[in-house]
Structure formats: structure tokens, C-alpha cells
Amino acid sequence: MKEIIDNLSKKYDHRPTYLLQILRAIQVEFHFVPQGAIEQLAGLLHIPRTQIIAVVEFYSFLHLTPRGRYDILVSDSITDHMLGKNALMQYFSDRLTVNVGDVRHDALVSLDNTSCTGLCDQGPAALVNGYALTRLDKAKIDVIKGLVDQQKSLTEWPAELFHVDDNIHKPGLLLNLQTGLGTALKSVFDRGIPETLAEIDKSGLRGRGGAGFKTATKWKFCSEEIETERYVVCNADEGEPGTFKDRVLLNSYAHLVFEGMTLCAAIIGASQGFLYLRGEYLFLYDKLQKILLERRQAGLLGNNILGKNFSFDIEIHLGAGAYICGEESALIESLEGKPGIPRNRPPYPVTQGYLGKPTVVNNVETFLAAAAIALNGGDWFAKVGTEKSKGTKILSISGDCAKPGIYEYPFGTSIQDILTDCVATDVLGVQVGGPSGTFISNNEFGRKLAFEDLATGGSFIVFNNTRNILDIVKNFTHFFAHESCGFCTPCRVGTSLLQKQLDKITDGHGSAGDVVELEELCQIIKKQSHCGLGQTAANPVLTTLERYPELYQSQLKKISYEPGFDLDAALGTARRMANRNDKAAHLAQIGEDHE
């Protein structure tokens, strides 16, 4: 082990900023991060062991205790549930003879849940040792069981298991673009750098991650900083359940995304860029490295790019299972090798970002759009969309529709038009923008896709009338409690309390006042939390409570007080100890006596 850790540390020049990357490699090698490795790394990187433990305990894909040699994580997104995830999980568990959350006694296999893997258009999905498995069914699970039993290496597993489709059903302005290698970048130098920034400004492009900050303004602020060491970061930590468009953009449009990052570097004066790729997209890693190599060979990355005395290169950092790292300051912390805890702002990343230096963080789609605008000019983009939302938005559509996949629409398109295109019928509602966004009912399909109406990072989940709204809300609420980084009190404690309170109501233990209590809890989490995660974690409850108050009320028992838990079940231990099971050893739930 000592040699492996030594070599890993040396590979990364003993730099603590690579801690997460090193720990990922250790996890792959040993199926956990052994204490000996922590001690050795602390010495090699000159950091306290506690910092290493904190990183391991923060990220879902790193472990202090051994996982199986085949670690299988089944995607727990609502879309996976709609495709029969629970039954498949049970089948996995039965076939592999391992309980969910456990490692099998022979240490060969472990099974657990994981947050949305970004494969909602081809689920149910799972990860095996980090690599995506798509369209799971019982037959495939049987195959997987056989491969595990024979201890076949993943390279010997049939490629079909890992097949990921793009599913682009409606290309538009950006997805139809055909460009030669480096043409967008050449147009930047032909037109001039300030002139290109002016075009991006004219295009009206706003950040595609969801927050919608004007891209040209962000780049201008960064370029005006006194500090000249600056960074470009592409946020490919696409963790919002139901979003997968960045997966497709990086699979099929990576050159243009990297070109967007490069021209951003030229504009802001950066010489280093990072692509922060969510761990779930490990299957894209080698392909992206190859594309970076092609770009270096073509003189589009590296020193003296296009002979313009401009140097810039891009590194790929992998995440390790933490939704919060999609928040830009948490992402920067993660890039620095730390737990992804959002920073206090100000200072903002444009003034003090990566290593305290001015940093532009933008979404994958934003860089793609910027490259397209550099090529075609600001007017080409601005003439599409609405007054406040220029251009197009790429959507990831999943759920109850015949054609889940990728759709590009001009801003201003109505929800009804989108539902027609993806062939959704008998629709109950749509979750626009993922769990952190808004649930809209079938009375609102005239609403428009736009920053000024329904803003979205790209997630668009369709639910038909067979679905239970409270099941959906429960899945989302549990997701946020699981992904809260735990930094601030309202989100750390509040999201877990919200989960308990919602479960109390949906499990039938709610009584008068419990919905009011639920809403009050939502408001405090929304108002007082540190970052966007907490500020939006109550949205699933709030947006459905607003639309379907009677649904929540109907769950409540009609008494003034109802115990918040199952009284009889709580007596189970006492019954076992007293070796009794007669009628007098059981207790009725008060509510049932008085209804």
C-alpha cells in the first residue's frame, strides 16, 4: 500500500488541492480509504489527518470502511422510482444476497442507493464501481449477478450494460451548430477580444445553471480584477435530479464547450481552467481527456494558442457524490481538495475564487452558448427568445412521456408545446427546474420557459395522473436532507426535521396543526439558510402545498393530538423482553379510537 500512496502523491506533486482526486484513486484501489493511507497522505501532503477524514466523510463515494469489490449504487431519483426502482432494488438484493446498505460477508459485493445519476431518460440506472449502468431490468440484473459471481473485471462486462444514448429529440440554435475545430476561437482573435466580449454582452446570454447572472458582466468583472492570476471553471456537477443535458453536451459537443472555456480565458486573462465533472459521469472521463489531447495537438490548448501568444490549458477534476458541489463556491472548495461547503459571500468567486484568485464559474451550456455566439455574433442569439431571456434553453425531459431526452427551445416556449413534443398525455403536473424548482399543475401549462416565468437549469420531469404527488415530494425532501452539507443550522437540522415532519404526515401520524407546522418549517429553512440548497430545499413542499392544500389536509387524523410515531410498534422491544404477545401487551393508536 505504501508504494501506491507514494506514487499517487507524487503523481499530483504532493499538492493538497488534489486530495479529492487522490482519495478517489485510493477508493478504487482498496474499496475504501484505509487509516494507514490517511496517516501516510497526511505526511506527504503536509495536512492534518483530520482534513483527510473530513473529505472522506463528506463525499458519498468515499468510505472509511470497506465496500465490496463490486460496489453497486442504484439511482434513487424519482424518475428511477417511476420506472420500477424499488422492485429492481429488491431483485438486486435477492440475487446478490446482500442487504441494501450492506457489504456481503465475502466482501465481493455491496449495494446501496445513490442520488440521481443523470440517466433519467434511460433508467432505471445504477453505478458499478462508479460506471453507469442503464435501462436495468431483471434480465440485466441476472447477467450482472453472473459476472459478479465469476469475478469478471468490468472491462470484460458486455458493453451493452454501459450503453448511454444521447437521445437528442429536438435540436435548435446550439445543438444544430456544425463547426470546425477552433473556428469559434479563431473568430475571437479575428474580431478582437473586447469586441467579442461586446458580442456576448449584446447576445444577452445569462448563466444556464439556473441563477441567470449575465455572462458578459461576470467575465468583465473578472477581467477587471487587479490580481492577474485568474481561473476559468466549467461546472459539470450536474446534480439536480432530472437533469442530464450536460452529460449529452460533454458526450457530443465537448470540443465546443472547451472552446467556450478557452475563449473565456482569452477574455478574462486566465491561463488555467478546470472542468469539474460529477463523479457519476466517470464514463465520460477518458473520452474528455482524449479530446483535450486532440486540442493540445491542434494548437488550441497549451502554449501559444493559434500563435497568439496566449497560453491556456484545462484539467479535469472528478467529484465524488455531493450535490452541493454544484453550488459555485462549494465547487471551488471541492476543486481545492476540501469538503464542498459553500463559502461566505462576499467575496464572490469573480474576485476571490479558486485559491483566492479571480475565477469565472459557468455552466457547461453557458460555455457552449458563448462559443456559438463568438462564432455567429450577439444578434444571432439575441433575436431568439424573450426580452429578458435571450436565446434557447436545452432541456432534459424525463418521466411520463413517450420520448424522454434532450430538447432545445427558444425561451418563451409554453409548457404545453413542450409536453406535446415529448408526447406526454394525461399529465398531472411537471416539475420544472428539478426538486429545487417548481411543481406546476395541469392548470398552468400555458406558462412559459423563461427567467421571468419558469426558470430552469434544464430539469423537466413529467408526471401523469397515476402518480401520487406526496410520493414525489417525499422523494425530493429526502434528497435534500441527504445532500445538505450541514454547515448552517437551518439547513442541517431543518432539512432533517422537514423530512420527519413530512413522513409523519404521509405515514398517517399527522393531526390538526401538523400542516401549519410543516409550512412554518419550510419558511424558516427557505429564509435563513446559508446557500441555494437550503433556500430551495423546501420548494417541493411549498409549491405543492400551494397548489394542493387539500391533499395535505386529507392525510391528517381528525383529532387534536396524534402521537408522532406508531405506539404499538414502539412497544415491540418491551414485548420481546417480557416474552408477551397477549392483547393487553398491545396499544391502539389514540387516533383510531376517536375517529
Binding site: T50, A54, F58, Y59, G486, V493, L497, Q528, S529, H530
Partner: protein
């Protein structure tokens, strides 16, 4: 000429570079807080000091003071939320004031008094937490830790050590000690370290000093935390 901002309608002078908390404290205005301590880099995590700045919620301990800011601090709405946040801290850990040595000197308890908190309101988590009594002179009762990181910061910034860190994610956060065994006795913590004395609750206690001051004669038994805090923290 010094600059001014307004807190609850009162003009407060400040110097460039000060946070809202620093400006308020210097002017004798108390903003409730637990993770903030004037000697250490502000952390902004407990969220008790959240104030409304020109209509936006900001943590006073980290947010820079600026000319003309209109800050709302002592409003019913904010204090109601602060009470709820304090209740969250109480139910998250296992805080049993009557049996705690820190009772009367505890800032968590004192803030709860200040905010007129009369019950825990929320369901308890009954978290399974341990006590680390391994160190000959210092005890950690993890049941009472509120993750304010003051011990982490005091160890780094005053003691020049790195005894503590916060690990884990979400509701599974935990305080860890920097030793291969994870036990306090194997760290380089000394009972004289600032980190051993900074805890606002009863999570870190010095052994064999308990009850030297009887309950009933302790700081917050007789003084509200706003008064004590301003006296101690006003520079």
C-alpha cells in the same frame, strides 16, 4: 469622517473593513450569536446573527458593513426565527441543562433564555453521541456539540495547533480530534489551550473544576447574554 449604517433605525458608525457584527458590537448593539467570537475569523454557520440588510437576509458576523445599509436586527420576525434555530440546536444534540456542568455559564442556554425559548418545540433526534474522557484534563461530551467550530479555530489561530476538525455531512456532522486513535488523549491538546476553554456549550470541559461556582451564582443566572456579550466583546 466615519461612515454610518442604520440598525433598527439607529445610526451606527463603522470603519471600512468591519462586519455588521463588529460595527454593532462597538456601538453597543447586541446581535444574537453562537459561532461568532471577536478573536477568530468569522464562520457564519449558526445563523443566529442573521439580520435583514436592505431587504436581504445576511449573516451579520460575515457581511461587510457598508454606507447607508438599512439593517433590521431586533424584530419579532427575526427573533422568532432565531428562537426556532436555537430549538433546532437543542433537538439536534442531547442538551439536558439540569444535569450539565455548564448550566448558567452556557451560551446556548443563555441565548435560549434571551430569545424566550420555553420548550424544544421540534421532535428530538436522540442522536447517539459519545463522551471522550480519555484526556487526563479535558473532557469532550459530543452530545452537546453544536458544530460552531470555535475550538477548531481557537486551536489553529491561538494555540498554533490543529487539534479539532468538523467531519461528516449534513445531520451526520461530528467533531473529530487529530490523533490516529481519534482520542483526545493522543492529541497535543493541553488544558491551558484556548481551544479547551472556548466552547460556548458544555461539550468541552476541564476536568476536576466542576461546580466550583455553584449553580445559581453563574454568569447567565443573573445577567442576560446581551449585556454579558457586549461587555466582553466590545473592544
Amino acid at each position: 469622517m466615519s461612515k454610518t449604517l442604520t440598525i433598527d433605525g439607529k445610526a451606527i458608525p463603522f470603519e471600512e473593513g468591519q462586519t455588521i457584527m463588529e460595527a454593532a458590537t462597538a456601538a453597543g448593539v447586541y446581535i444574537p450569536h453562537l459561532c461568532h467570537h471577536p478573536e477568530y475569523t468569522p464562520h457564519g454557520s449558526c445563523k443566529l446573527c442573521n439580520v435583514n440588510v436592505n431587504g436581504r437576509v445576511c449573516s451579520a458576523c460575515t457581511f461587510p458593513a457598508a454606507e447607508g445599509q438599512n439593517v433590521i436586527n431586533n424584530s419579532k420576525e427575526l427573533n422568532d426565527d432565531r428562537q426556532k434555530i436555537t430549538q433546532m440546536l437543542f433537538v439536534e444534540g442531547n442538551h439536558l441543562c439540569p444535569g450539565c456542568e455548564k448550566s448558567g455559564n452556557c451560551q446556548l442556554q443563555a441565548v435560549a433564555y434571551h430569545l424566550n425559548m420555553l420548550d424544544n418545540h421540534f421532535p428530538h433526534f436522540y442522536a447517539k453521541r459519545v463522551v471522550d474522557a480519555s484526556h487526563p484534563e479535558v473532557l469532550i461530551d459530543h452530545n452537546r456539540c453544536i458544530f460552531c467550530t470555535l475550538c477548531v479555530r481557537a486551536s489553529q489561530q491561538t494555540d498554533g495547533k490543529d487539534v479539532f476538525a468538523i467531519s461528516g455531512r449534513g445531520i451526520n456532522k461530528r467533531l473529530i480530534a487529530n490523533a490516529p486513535s481519534g482520542l483526545l488523549k493522543d492529541t497535543d491538546l493541553a488544558a491551558t489551550d484556548a481551544a479547551a476553554h472556548i466552547c460556548p456549550t458544555g461539550a468541552i470541559l476541564i476536568k476536576r473544576t466542576g461546580y466550583q461556582v455553584p449553580i445559581g451564582e453563574r454568569i447567565y443566572d443573573h445577567h442576560d447574554i446581551d449585556e454579558v456579550s457586549l461587555k466582553v466583546e466590545k473592544v
